[in-house]
Symmetry: none
Subunit: 416 residues, 2 copies
């Protein structure tokens, strides 16, 4: 919902909510983006409540003129709204903590629909609201109003809304869910290897394959009458999935490439330093997105200029002159230099042509070299990525993380 989504903003909420609901065995029946128009939203809320058991609204809870979800739901249900001074006091307190003046507009966020319970929002000023409606039948209908920003919506959904949806609609059915994370494999290859499962799924099984920036996620869900039976079915599915694509799997569930790398570094008491050129800090950013990453991530050098590759990483002038910065030689020396300068046990490097400019026939846009050095041995790999500057960079970061992961997974005897 929201004019933003009709004006060019990418709808990230839809993918997130539909994945989470699917995993809970509560498939999303319909999704819509509406303009910030009171009459339109009111009519759509009425329509949706006729059709579905539950309605989730994202956005329109802010303090500004175009935030009208509260009003629309109240109008659709023929309910009034009440101003809650205590709620406003809480919002004011949040602002005062940051020594910000509270705009008069924020008072709007303290209006609550009659009969709604207020859902706390630890990451923003807009509280959520949840209504339980008794329809004509015995069945309860739930209406949830959540804030628009993803970082506020997702925690509220997980903590307060999903559990109530489960309790209301998933009784007598249990769904077990598994998400397997892969890297270093194209989506189409993973898809083909898993086709024996996805082509004609048995009743109660559902599968989704998703890919982004060099990573592939495979979701499998089994719905049965009891949790025990669902878990048993899932166990069999899991075995079959690993038999097909296990070599590419780095983790399950919420595991990310960077958390998998971190887990393995920590388990072996290793430390990592990175030297980045074309990725410009992105590799460091991903590694440090994991809480506690300072245990194993020591340092990164974003050596964008050749001079700094020499000064900070010790890449030899001869290497740069003879082979250039985008070369296996340079990648190798960058990895060794990062390890040495930062005093880490492992050094990882990325150097390439992200584009759009800077490409040549011998070194086209998308060409990237990766180096990994542990003081005794070093390895270099070469890859060519398609896509625009940001896609090439994102894929290079995933490939660099995959390289470390493979090194940490592989038995020590095997040459990297």
């Amino acid at each position: 919902m929201g004019t933003e989504l009709l004006s060019g903003q990418v709808n990230t909420h839809q993918a997130y909510l539909s994945t989470a609901l699917n995993a809970a065995g509560l498939p999303l029946a319909r999704e819509g983006s509406l303009p910030d128009d009171l009459a339109e939203i009111t009519a759509a809320v009425r329509e949706a409540l006729k059709r579905s058991d539950a309605l989730l609204l994202c956005g329109g809870l802010g303090p500004t003129f175009d935030d009208i979800s509260r009003e629309a739901v109240a109008a659709a249900l023929g309910r009034s709204m009440r101003y809650r001074p205590a709620l406003y006091a809480r919002i004011k307190k949040k602002f005062s903590r940051y020594r910000l003046p509270v705009p008069e507009e924020n008072k709007r966020q303290a209006f609550v629909i009659e009969g709604a319970s207020v859902l706390p929002n630890p990451f923003g000023s807009a509280p959520g609201q949840l209504l339980r409606l008794r329809g004509g039948g015995s069945r309860v209908k739930l209406v949830a109003l959540m804030p628009g920003p993803f970082s506020e919506m997702a925690p509220m959904f997980e903590a307060h809304i999903l559990p109530r949806l489960r309790a209301a609609y998933a009784r007598g059915r249990a769904t077990a869910h598994l998400c397997v994370r892969m890297s270093g494999v194209p989506e189409s290859v993973a898809d083909e290897k898993l086709a024996f499962l996805t082509d004609d799924p048995a009743p109660g099984r559902s599968f989704t394959i998703l890919s982004s920036d060099g990573q592939v996620s495979f979701h499998a869900a089994a719905t049965e009458a009891t949790a025990r039976r669902a878990a048993a079915v899932l166990k069999v599915l899991r075995r079959r999935i690993y038999a097909a694509v296990g070599e590419h799997v780095f983790g399950e569930g919420a595991e990310t490439l960077e958390s998998a790398v971190g887990r393995r570094l920590r388990a072996r008491s290793l430390t990592l330093a990175v030297a980045e050129s074309c990725t410009g800090g992105w590799l460091g950013r991903r590694l440090t997105s994991v809480p506690g990453s300072s245990d194993y991530f020591i340092c990164g050098v974003i050596a964008y200029s050749n001079r700094l590759k020499t000064k900070l990483l010790g890449v030899s002038g001869r290497t740069l002159a003879r082979f250039g910065a985008v070369s296996s030689h340079c990648a190798r020396e960058m990895a060794a230099g990062a390890r040495r300068s930062c005093g880490a046990t492992l050094g990882l490097s990325v150097t390439g042509v992200a584009g759009p400019g800077g490409g040549s026939r011998k070194k086209p846009v998308g060409l990237v070299y990766f180096g990994l050095d542990d003081g005794k041995r070093s390895a270099v790999i070469k890859a060519r990525f398609s896509g625009n500057r940001e896609v090439v960079r994102a894929r290079a970061v995933a490939a660099a993380l995959t390289l470390v992961l493979r090194r940490l997974k592989a038995p020590r005897a095997k040459e990297i």
Copy 2:
């Protein structure tokens, strides 16, 4: 439309189509994702045609059992479908070019709704279809059926559908659009300052305010009978917007904080080096996302450990022992060290507590210091951000970029 979009797939079509339509002065009134269910799609098509002038359907033109857009539109309009042997021959020819056998299923793609014109699809097997309906009034309604894959949909939309939408609905109207980008101001404050425009917009004016990660965008559009008049109205709006929030504006249109910083660095022939702690490379990543950023961005040091802050950036052991890594003193020395070690004209630093761990009463999660050093003077600012680890980090990156921007904007005489 399509079950995929209700099962976790990201909806890229919505952002693309809404942007393209908005730019043409044909705002998207509503968007929806429907399950692959004939009755639901048929009902939704009927509803949409009551509400809107034009209806764009993406997907459901493939050869498989769940591709039912053709059937649904035909049912909604009470029209039949005709099998076109010539169309099937063309589809077969496409397959033979790649020496692929033609699955029997593909015959479905040769069925055309009565009265529809066929739109060629150079990038796939599914042809598009376009219907012009004469409603009760004199106004024409358009229904377009486009293939689901983005790479097939977008070219068909641009070549065949957008021109006909323009001709049918945008004649005698022209829209001028402006997007103003701000940073260093909370959304609610910007909103309050712009309330005189947005509270009661005149006919033909529309406004949207959006915020993400410390940046605020304000969109203004003016629709008039001629392009000239729309541009004149927008000029006046622009002046009024700048009078209200000009101090926070860093650019317009596609300008980002990092491209604005880059433009100003380049204009003054300055170079920048960064020293990052809690942002872990994110600042470098954003600065280097701009093509050609190697002209002014020299180097970054992600000094995650105290030891490396001393070794690579020259932060004194005494500073670290006495004030800690998250302190104004450390931020100042990090900025100076980055400038010096990398040989840049400006050094920028970030050090803070991103959380969730590592906070204390004196140094809570969200506390971040920024340093800026040009060799003669240095400045330090302190901020406290709310949100989880990634939100704190994203806001810190935006604040760091805003700090440089202000320094480059301010007259030289003014102390930073």
